[in-house]
């Protein structure tokens, strides 16, 4: 009994040490995609175990290429919903093979996981009420600023407060809908968050014309598809497939499909054209972490 356990433990240890996702996919004929329940148009659920979005569709195309190159007649894609808290451990321990959500590529995470080439560069913006007269972060002195607990925007805000000497009162929503409610009900004068999330919340508001995005970009964050670390063969397969889409212009079409056209389930538009940073990332595919963007 003890010996079996030992052998088993060694097998597990070996499996972790030599992550070979391509072999795992070939042997099992299945792959697990990590998806989000509601990450804007990037990755979300339609209910009933169906997941769609810009990153989900990119991943489906990547996996189709992988299937072709492995010569598999059939590839079974399993969808595993993940959260901000569990996505990295699940990729590390092999539960999820490829995570297609809204994960920021930063240096701290690169110690634990690897990222494919950046497919979207997010800009952190400020949303205010259109009639508030606020046009930039400098005018937020003494005002209440909402943001969501457990996001990088909290840190961005803290850094700006320190760097510019602007003193504002932070209020934290427990999720994006909650933070938006703080802005809507007047408890907060501004909501600082990723542009796509702000645009999505404004589009879904009772009266979208009441709100607008203002001011400078507070931070830029490369968002990428996440895979296991130390698996160069699989990273190359994923990167090559995405780079081909960037070259052929297919990725721009996918962007337009998810961010500029009406999308399910309510057939509403996010209405957000790709920003310059995103276009630059498509033109020169790279997997630079967030820290490299801040240096500019």
């Amino acid at each position: 009994m003890k010996k079996t356990l030992l052998v088993l433990a060694m097998a597990v240890a070996a499996g972790v040490a030599h992550a070979d996702t391509l072999k795992k996919i070939k042997d099992s004929g299945a792959v697990t995609m990590g998806v989000r329940e509601s990450s804007g148009a990037l990755s979300y659920t339609l209910g009933d175990g169906k997941y769609v979005g810009y990153h989900v569709e990119i991943c489906q195309k990547v996996l189709a290429d992988v299937q072709k190159s492995l010569g598999l007649a059939k590839l079974d894609i399993k969808y595993q919903p993940v959260t901000s808290q569990n996505r990295i451990p699940l990729v590390q321990n092999g539960t999820v093979d490829i995570e297609c959500g809204s994960t920021t590529n930063n240096a701290a995470r690169q110690k634990d996981v690897a990222f494919a080439v950046t497919t979207f560069v997010e800009e952190v913006r400020i949303a205010v009420k259109a009639n508030s007269g606020i046009t930039g972060i400098g005018q937020l002195n003494g005002k209440s600023v909402a943001t969501t607990t457990g996001t990088t925007s909290v840190q961005t805000l803290r850094k700006h407060e320190r760097a510019t000497g602007v003193d504002f009162k932070e209020v934290f929503g427990k999720d994006h809908a909650d933070s938006f409610l703080l802005l809507e009900s007047g408890r907060a004068d501004a909501f600082v968050m990723d542009g796509a999330i702000l645009a999505g919340n404004i589009a879904k508001a009772k009266n979208p014309a009441e709100f607008k995005l203002v001011g400078e970009v507070l931070s830029v964050e490369p968002i990428a598809i996440m895979i296991r670390k130390d698996d160069p063969a699989f990273k190359k397969a994923v990167d090559d497939s995405i780079k081909a889409m960037m070259k052929s212009g297919e990725i721009a079409k996918l962007w337009s499909k998810w961010f500029e056209q009406p999308i399910p389930p309510a057939n509403t538009k996010v209405g957000m054209p790709a920003n310059d940073n995103t276009k630059a990332a498509w033109a020169n595919p790279n997997d630079k972490p967030m820290e490299d963007y801040a240096k500019k």
Binding site: S84, Q85, I88, P89, N106, A108, R109, K111, D112, T149, G150, T151, T152, V154, Q155, R158, K159, R162, E170, V171, F172, G173, K174, D178, L181, S185, G186, R187
Partner: protein, 245 residues
Amino acid sequence: MTWDWQVFCKDTIDGEVRAGCFGSGGDITYLDWMLSAWGWTLSVAVLALVVALVVGSLMGIFRTTPSKALVALGNAWTELFRNIPLLVQVFLWYHVLPALIPPLKSVPSFILVVFALGFFTSARIAEQVKAGIQSLPKGQRYAGLAMGFTLPQTYRYVLLPMAFRIVIPPLTSESMNIIKNSSVAFAVSIAELTMFAMQAQEETSRGIEVYLAVTGLYFASAFVVNRIALFIEHRVAVPGMVGSK
């Protein structure tokens, strides 16, 4: 899996490790932040416990009085606050009540969450205090009244000294629960331990270390409450009385 406990010594702005783990000159490390968060957790819990004990005891006593109006008030209070989930109550206090009563908007969310948590727990304490009083033989009450005590005096000198001693163990559980339940305060922007854990694990990517440390603090806090309650229980025990050893 490798451990990285240095994460607590990192500065919250530039992410550099600080010597001695505590920031100086306005710099804040994750350790500083966690201790401040612990302070918020304890403040919310202790103040809410005071509210809960005062209001809960009062409502529990009301429910055992001969007055039908007071019994109805106590019952209504208990059922109202016991039958709505805590998180929903916190939201009602924070988002709904201020919309109905505008002056409430200027009340700090800290006060609101203390009352929300205090009233929620008061319903549970009312139930326990009532059970404690009802566990006494009816003759005690009649004896007190026959001695010429007024009803309040009967409660003060005859019923409550025994009832409270009997309900110390369930009250201990409630006091420990309130420490753990104070985690809902993160939902209304109180910078307490749960919020620290969610935010720090996102910023540092060292979720396991952060959650382990926070778990340790919750456990230690609840355990200290447990020991204090045990000390009080032994200290006030009267040999031969119901519930004493």
